[in-house]
């Protein structure tokens, strides 16, 4: 069965490389950003048809060098595929899960349908007589094609690795783990998702260009749904995420294709069964089997003996006024969760927001941080009206927050969580990461350094290498605080920071909060632990049924009759 000649082997290897390029793009989308696409063949087709059109249909002037049509077709094919990727990404923002799968499937079908209906693109016959690619005197066919295709894989792998190691990769990872928390950490999640679609599209287009140049023709069936499914199967088979799984998957499919004639219809049936088995039993694919030992292990760190409270990592930004809420009202159906609330915070103070469960405290936090919008009124953060802004843009003004149920990036280590928190202090953009500009690397080091120092400051360094999902509830809360601090915020909103903490952790939290206030950070807390609230607050605001019923120093609020009745006098004694 192995008695195949070299040319056949070479050919199978070439196809494997071509598909690996497209599969790496999908692997990034599926594994690193958790977005599914069953429409990748559409991009493959856009790239392929662009090249075929420019090399086989367009008549070039005779004085044009021989390599130009191929190079122009490749570049334009990649660019068009990327542009359509942006478009699909934009549409994809509206969907998740199976709806996203269907929308991408529709995209792929539309591309095939359009090329099949289009006369200039050859209708159902497609475009044949695509000439071999020439680079100078070299004709890219046979062995040269094999090496060209694997050079494409090399280039793709390099760019993808750069991207994943950079700020972009950290943003992807955060989005995959918890989109909302990523957004609150200042990561523009929509932009990154769109970029991921564009990048995956560009790679599929890149693969498509050379596929057509190598095969010498393109027809609608070659870029149909089954190619999209094939690519998905390759990625799942090899293991989604990063480069190696996709390459392994594409190679396996390429090699089995070599014996395709012996296997006939058994081949896709076996793929189908393999994918079901892998998805159920080995969700990390074949690559996951090899790298199982390299998975981040949860183990305690050895160093200890850090000073109790270290100096701040960097001075927080200064503002005359960090937060003003003006007549904020938020309704859920008939329920008024926040009812005409107005207040502003004095810089460098610690204010606690208390009130019975259901009083609207978290709703107010969400409105301030851009996660839920107010129906009426205005929110001003750092002097800017943020009433209708998305969370990441509010965060970029210097606002950090934690969540009531501690939304850490569960599959990342404590250190990685803190590094992701430093996103706003980094500068590298998508293209800087892609080509590996120095800023990409310096960012990586700076973010790590910054994260280490924040962990050190909060005494969390011993946990640095633990996975977030393995932490106790109290530890999670403190790591979440560290993640918020890593962005160097001027205003910090903490939602029940003391809930779930043991006595020692509680004391530590109190001292940390005092230290943060001393640094000049403006703090707003939701907290039910009255002792802590009374001990550390400069000011206490009380919310009941969405209305502010008291506002003043701890001593004043403690003796306010309205507060006493809110907590003790009515049916809702929930504390």
């Amino acid at each position: 069965m192995l008695a195949r000649n070299d040319a056949t082997l070479m050919q199978a290897g070439t196809y494997a490389a071509i598909f690996a390029v497209a599969a790496i793009g999908l692997s990034l989308l599926l594994g690193n950003v958790a977005q599914i696409s069953i429409g990748q063949a559409g991009f493959f087709g856009i790239g392929g048809y662009t090249l075929a059109y420019l090399t086989a249909v367009v008549t070039w002037p005779s004085n044009v060098p021989g390599w130009l049509p191929f190079v122009a077709g490749t570049l334009l094919g990649v660019a068009l595929a990327a542009a359509f990727g942006l478009l699909l990404g934009l549409i994809a923002l509206r969907f998740r899960g199976h709806y996203l799968a269907m929308a991408t499937l529709a995209f792929g079908l539309i591309v095939v349908g359009i090329v099949r209906a289009s006369k200039p693109l050859g209708g159902s016959v497609g475009i044949s007589n695509v000439p071999f690619a020439h680079l100078g005197s070299l004709t890219i066919s046979g062995g040269a094609a094999f090496w060209y295709a694997w050079a494409m894989v090399g280039l793709t792998a390099l760019l993808t690795r750069n991207l994943l190691r950079g700020r972009t990769g950290r943003a992807f990872e955060a989005i995959r783990n918890d989109e909302l928390a990523a957004e609150a950490a200042g990561i523009p999640t929509r932009r990154y998702k769109i970029l991921a679609f564009a990048y995956a599209g560009a790679l599929a287009g890149f693969a498509g260009t050379f596929f057509v140049a190598y095969l010498g023709l393109v027809e609608p069936n070659a870029v149909g749904v089954s190619l999209s499914i094939d690519l998905l199967l390759m990625v799942v088979l090899g293991g989604a995420g990063g480069i190696s799984g996709a390459t392994i998957g594409a190679s396996i499919v390429g090699i089995t294709n070599l014996y395709g004639h012996d296997l006939e219809n058994w081949r896709p049936v076996i793929y189908g069964i393999a994918v079901i088995v892998i998805v159920v039993a080995f969700p990390r694919g074949i690559a996951g089997l090899f790298s199982a030992g390299a998975a981040p292990k949860s183990k305690p760190h050895e160093t200890d003996g850090a000073p109790e409270i270290m100096p701040p990592v960097a001075a927080p930004p200064a503002r005359a006024q960090w937060l003003a809420v003006e007549h904020a009202t938020k309704r859920f159906g008939g329920l008024v969760a926040v009812d005409d609330v107005s207040f502003s915070l004095e810089s460098g103070t610690l204010t606690s927001l208390i009130g019975p469960n259901g009083a609207g405290k978290t709703t107010l936090f969400n409105a301030i941080t851009g996660i839920g919008r107010v129906d009426e009124g205005r929110i001003v953060v750092a002097g800017e009206d943020v009433t209708r802004r998305r969370p990441h843009r509010v965060a970029a003004l210097g606002l950090g927050r934690t969540f009531q149920n501690a939304r850490l990036f569960a599959e990342m280590t404590v250190l990685e969580n803190a590094v992701a928190g430093a996103y706003l202090c980094e500068r590298a953009g998508f293209f800087a990461d892609l080509v590996g500009l120095p800023v990409s690397r310096s960012d990586r080091h700076a973010a790590r350094e910054r994260a280490r120092r924040v962990l050190g400051r909060l005494g969390l360094e011993p946990l640095a290498r633990r996975l977030a999902r393995d932490l106790s509830f109290g530890e999670r809360r403190r790591v979440e605080l560290a993640r918020a601090l890593a962005a160097n915020p001027g205003l910090l909103l903490l939602d029940e920071p003391a809930a779930g903490l043991n006595a020692a952790e509680r004391v530590r939290l109190r001292e940390d909060l005092r230290a943060l206030r001393a640094d000049g950070i403006t703090l707003l807390l939701i907290e039910h632990d009255m002792r802590l609230v009374m001990e550390i607050s400069d000011r206490i605001m009380v919310l009941k049924f969405g209305k502010l019923i008291a506002d003043g120093t701890p001593a004043r609020v403690r003796n306010d009759p309205a507060v006493i009745s809110a907590y003790l006098g009515t049916a809702e004694v929930s504390m």
């Binding site: 069953i38 969907f95 099949r116 209906a117 006939e264 189908g272 069964i273």
Partner: protein, 295 residues
């Protein structure tokens, strides 16, 4: 002109009935398990082939083959739920979606291994190898077209009766709408899900058998039927059973009108664009209440 349009509408309702049954199956599985079964169309093809096998190999009459294929579909559905959907659901939503796509390959190429890759004709429900037909008001109406629409209506009525009027059907709906609550009142939620999937696959097999004489059975038609069934479900509203049925019929009519009035090539891209357009503009579907969308 008008007669020609009416003729196209009849043809559209006929193929649309197949799409409607796919859409309904997708709806039933989605409702019970929160999974979109991308392989639903393949089960339609499988159903047609099972009926074909019963007729040609075991010499069943076509009505016995319809009953046989439906029962076999039910059994295959139970197996599918147990072997594929349930284990994948433990891993996550993305995993189930991918597993149903893997199933597409197993079925699409699997039945070619058994029955060959060329489509086969199924006998007509009245008349055997050739169909009866009539001229009514200048329209050509084939008996199979009448059977298809009537059998779709019967299936819809049976489903409605089961899910709305029987205790068992109501228990299944309760399990789908509120699994925890259903468990608390003693409903076996896993079993309810399995039964739902089995009903959906039985419906697919039933659909494959009734449209089989017109569309032929087998071959690579499954993907197209599956996708147009999806389009129907999305157009009508994934969360609404009646919406799914109407959406499927509508897609069939639109497809035939486009094919008849413009060209065969233009129909597919337009129908698929309809899918994307509906997803973007009105994901709840034309016939669903807005509150019915959960994702």
């Amino acid at each position: 002109m008008l007669a020609q349009l009416a003729q196209l509408v009849i043809a559209g309702l006929t193929v649309g009935s197949g799409y409607a049954l796919v859409a309904l199956g997708i709806h039933i599985i989605l409702r019970a398990t929160r999974v979109v079964n991308f392989a639903q169309g393949e089960f339609v093809i499988l159903g047609g082939l099972l009926a074909y096998g019963l007729v040609t190999t075991l010499h069943f009459g076509i009505w016995a083959a319809l009953a046989g294929a439906t029962v076999l579909g039910f059994a295959i559905g139970l197996l599918y739920e147990r072997a594929v959907l349930r284990p994948a659901a433990r891993v996550g939503e993305l995993a189930v979606t991918i597993a149903t796509i893997g199933t597409v390959y197993v079925l699409l190429y699997g039945h070619a291994l058994i029955w060959g890759s060329l489509p086969e004709p199924l006998v007509f429900f009245s008349g055997g190898a050739t169909d009866l037909s009539w001229q009514i008001l200048g329209l050509h109406v084939a008996a199979q077209q009448v059977w298809i629409i009537a059998l779709l209506a019967i299936a819809l009525a049976a489903l409605w009766f089961f899910f709305e009027r029987t205790t068992y059907g109501k228990a299944i709906r309760a399990a789908a709408d509120n699994p925890l609550g259903a468990r608390l009142v003693g409903i076996d939620v896993d079993r309810a899900r399995a039964i739902s999937v089995a009903i959906a696959i039985a419906l697919a097999a039933y659909g494959g058998t009734i449209v089989g004489p017109i569309t032929l059975v087998g071959g690579a038609a499954g993907i197209a039927i599956a996708i147009k069934g999806f389009v129907g479900a999305i157009v009508g509203g994934l969360e609404s059973p009646l919406g799914c049925a109407l959406g499927g019929l509508l897609v069939g009519v639109v497809e035939k009108l486009l094919e008849g009035q413009f060209s065969y090539e233009i129909a597919d891209p337009v129908v698929y664009s309809l899918l994307l357009l509906m997803l973007v503009v009105k994901p709840a579907g034309l016939f669903a209440r807005p509150s019915a969308v959960r994702d």
